[in-house]
């Protein structure tokens, strides 16, 4: 027997009890990643060589190395320098920073895809650099990258189990804990899988809607 319905219903409430941890961590980290990612994308485009060089290196390094080790440093090593944060907060920041480096690359691609004529038209109307970005370029840069940003929202959902490394128990860890008590893993892990699927499918429907809304009248 590989599936036991009664058992599945028994453990459902325990799984749902930590659902909010998964959701908070995901959304929190995504917001951090979106904002910081934009800052990094700008810093890399900066004409200040030092700023763009340092940003380049930092982005590449954070992007290329495992986030759980970064979380370890944030959680266990930073306190030695007097910076102590709660576990969930550390998790949100850590994952947020990690994925901001990815989003900065995504933004770069989006910005590059805006037609050069749009920059020129904005210059001709004498917008300031800031206005160009906010009103002309970014709105057009975001549209083609929305699906990819959706990818990262979904990725973050699924990366939250990593937070166990810094003592945050979210759904998948909870499933494993439940499993370890009864030695039936298939049900809890599969249920978490389905829950993730529902969340990420919901996210992807949302992304589709935004995509459609932004696409309307454009082409």
């Amino acid at each position: 027997m590989i599936w036991d319905w009664q058992y599945a219903f028994e453990i459902l409430p325990r799984l749902l009890k930590v659902a909010h941890v998964t959701i908070t961590a995901t959304l929190g980290a995504f917001v951090v990643a979106m904002i910081l990612g934009l800052v990094l994308a700008f810093a890399r485009r900066s004409t200040n060589r030092l700023l763009s060089g340092v940003t380049y290196f930092v982005v590449e390094f954070i992007r290329s190395t495992p986030p759980f080790v970064q979380l370890f440093f944030l959680f266990f090593v930073m306190p030695q320098f007097g910076i102590t944060m709660g576990a969930l907060m550390t998790g949100i920041l850590g994952l947020g920073i990690h994925y901001s480096t990815f989003l900065s690359e995504v933004y770069r691609a989006g910005i590059d895809s805006v037609d050069k004529g749009q920059w020129e038209a904005a210059t001709a109307l004498n917008f300031t650099s800031r206005q160009k970005w906010v009103h002309i370029i970014l709105p057009q840069a975001i549209r083609p990258i929305i699906p990819v940003m959706g990818n990262y929202l979904i990725t973050l959902f699924k990366e939250t189990p990593m937070l166990l490394g810094i003592t945050v128990v979210e759904m998948l860890s909870q499933a494993q804990i439940i499993g370890s008590q009864s030695f039936r893993y298939t049900e809890p892990i599969t249920m978490v899988g389905i829950f993730f699927l529902i969340l990420s499918y919901g996210a992807s429907l949302l992304v589709k809607r935004i995509e459609l809304r932004m696409d309307i009248n454009r082409r």
Partner: protein, 280 residues
């Protein structure tokens, strides 16, 4: 037609009394890599004056406008706008390369309509016209809307205020582009083939708008065009551009009827204008 110009308004050969040029190109050169596109352009434009630039394809007309619009940097030479250096900044008597802040200031006097329009695809037609007045000039929303609608009315596009640009025909897009530049009321307007996508009827209407606004505001205009009749109609002066330089300039009547250089003669002949400025 207008091959007989009134003498009331003198031209470059006879400078406009007491007025300084609003735009002055001094020995401007521009290369793209190995390709030298502009090769020592000297050119003055006076307030309120309308100059048409004609010349073969690829001769550098667009490039000249782009330098003035600060979209491209000159390789050599100076451009002055209303007495101020455009690409340079005077610091203690020395010329330094202008920074973005300086460009932003001087550029405020100039507007441009692009050959490919470059409307903002994510905004409705109305928003396309309102964005810059509000954001750049700090105009109130209500006022900007009012002016934008009035301008759309003038170019015959009032019915399309809430459309997105992708839905418009070529000529409709071009009219919106013209309106978008005009609502900024620059002192100098650059038109890069502003009527190429318009039918003659609409050309006539748009022309009226441009002329009217020019009269009201003493707006100077630089018109790059391939339509001689348009040039003749609207321009106070025509400049013939070839091989990276202005080869010849003068009032339409003179330039089109009695070209001085052989090159211009040839150019006009191909167009089918005889010595009398008539189509043959």
């Amino acid at each position: 037609m207008s091959n007989i110009q009134s003498t009331e308004r003198p031209h470059t050969e006879a400078p406009i009394e007491g007025k300084d040029p609003i735009v002055r190109f001094k020995n401007i050169s521009k290369s793209f890599g190995d390709l030298q596109v502009l090769n020592g352009v000297d050119f003055d434009l006076y307030p309120g004056e309308r100059v048409a630039i004609i010349g073969p394809s690829g001769s550098g007309k667009t490039t000249m406008a782009r330098l003035l619009m600060t979209l491209e940097e000159p390789t050599d030479g100076f451009i002055e706008v209303d007495g101020r250096q455009l690409w340079h900044k005077e610091v203690n008597g020395n010329f330094k390369k202008a920074d973005e802040k300086h460009l932003h200031e001087v550029r405020g006097d100039i507007g441009m309509v692009f050959q490919h329009f470059h409307l903002f695809p994510h905004m409705t037609v109305l928003k396309n016209l309102m964005e810059a007045p509000i954001k750049v000039k700090g105009m109130s929303k209500a006022k900007a809307r009012e002016e934008a609608l009035a301008m759309l009315e003038k170019v015959g596009m009032a019915g399309f205020a809430d459309q997105y640009p992708a839905r418009l025909s070529g000529g409709q897009q071009q009219r919106v582009a013209i309106a978008r530049a005009l609502v900024m009321h620059p002192k100098v307007m650059l038109f890069d083939e502003p009527t190429s996508a318009l039918d003659p009827e609409t050309v006539g209407e748009v022309l009226e708008v441009i002329k009217e606004i020019a009269k009201d505001r003493e707006m100077a205009m630089l018109l790059i065009t391939h339509e001689m009749s348009f040039a003749r109609d609207i321009a106070d002066r025509i400049a013939f551009f070839d091989e990276g330089k202005i080869q010849e300039e003068g009032p339409p009547s003179q330039l089109l009827n009695e070209p001085k250089t052989e090159r211009l003669g040839e150019f006009l002949h191909r167009f089918g204008i005889d010595g009398k400025g008539h189509n043959v």
